[in-house]
């Protein structure tokens, strides 16, 4: 054993309380120097122990205690500061984000885009260069567009509004600014030709959508209309749906659905009158008229024609009915054969079993004819029709012009094949769906699968008086009172009907399907969950648009 270890062991014995004398006795003789070290260590241990007095110890501990409490407070303050810092940081981030968002939304979008080009459309940029437009070509303020013969295109504005250029049309975009908060400032000038405007309802008091024509200014707020710039600073404005104000320095007129007017710089716009819009093939021409798909149209000296009408050409005719019921053409422009369409507006003067008299024209109402808005005698209606081989007219759709929503819904069904059959009045050929007349009032046939009033046994279903809830829901969801009452009389509450329509709109399912799910015993919560499980249809900007009349 070496001396280091031996000394360590002996010191351990000393620390455990063994007397020094005994430790020294156990040491081998040759290790006497170790004994000296042990004695020295013992002396140091015994004699070199300064002590901290009780008073000093308490005094020092008081310092420790104060520090301890300070530290606790500091820790707590640190947390408070940390939380405060986080809150401030969050506020900062939110403020910056909100500022950035406001800045972003305030930044105007100054470009529209071309789409659905058929033929050739030239675009003159702000630089003065003419280029051939392509789909997605950016159209900015100051641009001029020109469509050539047999050419059309759509201009899609950033707010979702759409302008359709007719063939041989030239327009200039004089103002185009749209902000993400919905504000639109748009001014288009028709230099020549015609445009059809489908305008998304404007948002904000400063929004405007103006069409400058040679004969005046057209202001709109969510509508669809056509503007044709003619020679001699004259223009025709024809409203397909909605209301527009046509004004020039001499006066102004309000146009409603189905109405048209002439306007020029010589005087106030003409009093509005109901119009027809036909697109079709010219079968023959006479000195005072032409035959368009089998129907005769009077052509007068006042008729404006962009080109000389030729047999077999497709044209779009806007005109009016004279007092004798003749169809008088006001404007004949090149039309698009792909969009053959015939629609006119007039007052219902008589309704028989299958033939309606609208204005001075008679149309046959078939089971498949869509009838919206409960038109009756003296109602102003728009009639979409086709001409039979024998020259008679079959109505495809009749819409009460007073009910804007019905028009929009009916049109959108036609455009996009909406599956919301519950809001249409589509008679089934398999059923007795012919519109009937009773005391001059039309009772439209209910759609297939639509509940009928027989289901509910309460007095309401048999009552002649209108139910305010049903009226409200019909207006809210663009359907008819009868359809709503049909659901009600199938033992559905108005609240349930409201919910079903909400779900239908939200998830793109028909109301029939919603009520079928309900009828299968599913609760409303379960129905929503199931519908949410489906992929939601992509929502496009809601545009009340009608099919182009040509």
């Amino acid at each position: 054993m070496n001396k280091d270890q031996l000394l360590h062991e002996k010191l351990s014995e000393l620390e455990s309380g063994k007397p020094v004398a005994e430790i020294l006795q156990d040491l081998p003789g040759e290790m006497s120097d170790i004994g000296e070290l042990i004695m020295l260590a013992s002396k140091v241990q015994q004699n070199m122990q300064p002590t901290l007095s009780h008073e000093a110890a308490r005094k020092q501990f008081e310092k420790v205690r104060i520090s301890l409490n300070t530290q606790k407070t500091t820790k707590s303050q640190k947390w408070q500061w940390a939380i405060l810092s986080m809150v401030l940081a969050l506020l900062f981030i939110v403020t910056i984000s909100a500022g950035a968002f406001i800045f972003w939304t305030a930044q105007p979008v100054n470009a529209a885009s071309l789409d659905n080009i058929q033929g050739v459309v030239a675009v003159k940029t702000v630089n003065g260069d003419w280029t051939i437009g392509e789909n997605n070509t950016r159209i900015k303020e100051g641009s001029i567009l020109r469509s050539y013969a047999d050419s059309t295109a759509e201009i899609k504005l950033p707010d979702g509004s759409v302008i359709v250029l007719d063939p041989d049309t030239q327009i200039s975009i004089d103002k185009l600014s749209w902000k993400r908060n919905g504000t639109l400032e748009f001014l288009v000038s028709t230099i020549s030709g015609g445009i059809t405007n489908t305008v998304v309802p404007l948002r904000g008091s400063i929004s405007y959508y103006h069409v400058r024509t040679p004969g005046g200014l057209v202001s709109v707020h969510g509508t669809e209309f056509q503007v044709y710039a003619l020679d001699n600073d004259q223009s025709i404005v024809s409203v397909l749906h909605g209301n527009v104000l046509v004004e020039n320095p001499s006066g102004e007129v309000d146009l409603n659905t189905g109405q048209m007017t002439f306007t020029n710089t010589a005087g106030a716009p003409q009093e509005p009158h109901y119009s027809f819009n036909y697109t079709g093939r010219i079968e023959s021409t006479q000195e005072d008229g032409l035959s368009l798909d089998g129907t005769n149209i009077v052509v007068t000296d006042d008729t404006k024609a962009v080109n000389q009408p030729e047999v077999n050409s497709t044209v779009h005719v806007i005109g009016h009915f004279d007092t004798e019921g003749n169809q008088v053409a006001d404007l004949i422009v090149p039309g698009n054969a792909k969009h053959s369409n015939k629609v006119f507006t007039g007052t219902v003067t008589a309704i028989s079993d299958s033939v309606w008299t609208v204005g001075s024209s008679q149309v046959t109402v078939l089971p498949e004819t869509k009838v919206n808005g409960k038109p009756e005698v003296d109602s102003i209606v728009r009639v979409w029709f086709h001409i039979n081989e024998d020259g008679t007219w079959n109505a495809d759709k009749i819409v009460n012009a007073k009910n804007e929503k019905d028009i929009a819904i009916a049109d959108s069904e036609e455009e996009i094949g909406d599956d919301t059959g519950d809001v249409t009045l589509t008679p089934s050929p398999a059923e007795d769906s012919t519109a009937t007349v009773s005391d001059g009032t039309l009772e439209p046939t209910l759609p297939v699968g639509t509940p009928t009033p027989e289901g509910r046994t309460t007095g309401i279903c048999g009552s002649e008086s209108e139910q305010p809830h049903a009226v409200t829901l019909a207006e809210r969801y663009g359907t008819t009172y009868d359809v709503i009452m049909g659901w009600f009389c199938k033992n559905n509450g108005f609240g349930e009907i409201d919910l079903a329509y909400q779900l239908s709109n939200e998830f793109g399912k028909s109301v029939d399907e919603i009520f079928e799910m309900r009828g299968s015993g599913m609760g409303w919560g379960t129905i929503r969950q199931e519908l949410e499980g489906r992929e939601r249809p992509t929502k496009e900007p809601k545009v009340e648009r009608t099919k182009r009349p040509h």
Binding site: L37, L40, V44, M48, Q71, K72
Partner: protein, 181 residues
């Protein structure tokens, strides 16, 4: 004190338990004070540093891991660093005449002259020893740490400390022999 009891106190002290901290203080304050006294040579500085060691201990307690060593050696490591910092600040070893102050603080002033003389001589001779020997004697024989605790505090192996204590006591013995002669 058994380790388990000390660990319980440490655990409570970590959560800010003032009573546990006061217990730990009572257990270790005398040893820490003695160690610092011999390291600084000044009672008042040693007293102040004693409280600072415990304040630092409380601040760093969350870092203490019982698996890495005993609490005592961890505490004396703090004290050792405090004394090193003190030297660094004063940039010198204690030069003040510690003898009288230290002797007066030693127990038994009423003892014999021989004993007083021995204490004085031990203080003087320890002061003459090299730094590492003085530190070892302070830890091992004045603060009375175990050989393991001393080794951990100094960051050395146990065998190394065993050899060092042999040499330190041997060096002190030689100094004392010279004094006797």
């Amino acid at each position: 004190m058994q380790n388990t009891e000390q660990y319980r106190l440490i655990s409570l002290a970590k959560n800010g338990d003032e009573y546990a901290i006061s217990c730990l203080y009572d257990i270790h304050c005398q040893g820490i004070f003695r160690f610092l006294y011999y390291r600084t040579g000044d009672r008042y500085i040693a007293e102040d540093m004693t409280s600072e060691v415990f304040i630092q201990m409380f601040r760093s307690l969350h870092k203490y891991n019982p698996d890495t060593g005993s609490f005592t050696s961890w505490l004396y490591t703090i004290a050792r660093h405090q004394s090193i910092d003190h030297y660094r600040k004063t940039k010198s070893r204690p030069e003040q005449p510690i003898t009288e102050d230290l002797i007066s603080s030693l127990p038994g002033p009423e003892t014999t002259n021989d004993k007083t003389q021995l204490q004085e001589e031990l203080i003087l001779k320890i002061k003459e020893l090299p730094e590492e020997y003085r530190e070892l004697i302070a830890l091992r024989f004045i603060s009375q740490l175990s050989i393991q605790e001393t080794a951990l505090t100094l960051g050395k192996t146990i065998d190394s400390v065993k050899g060092m204590q042999f040499r330190a006591l041997g060096a002190l013995r030689e100094k004392m022999k010279l004094w006797k002669e």
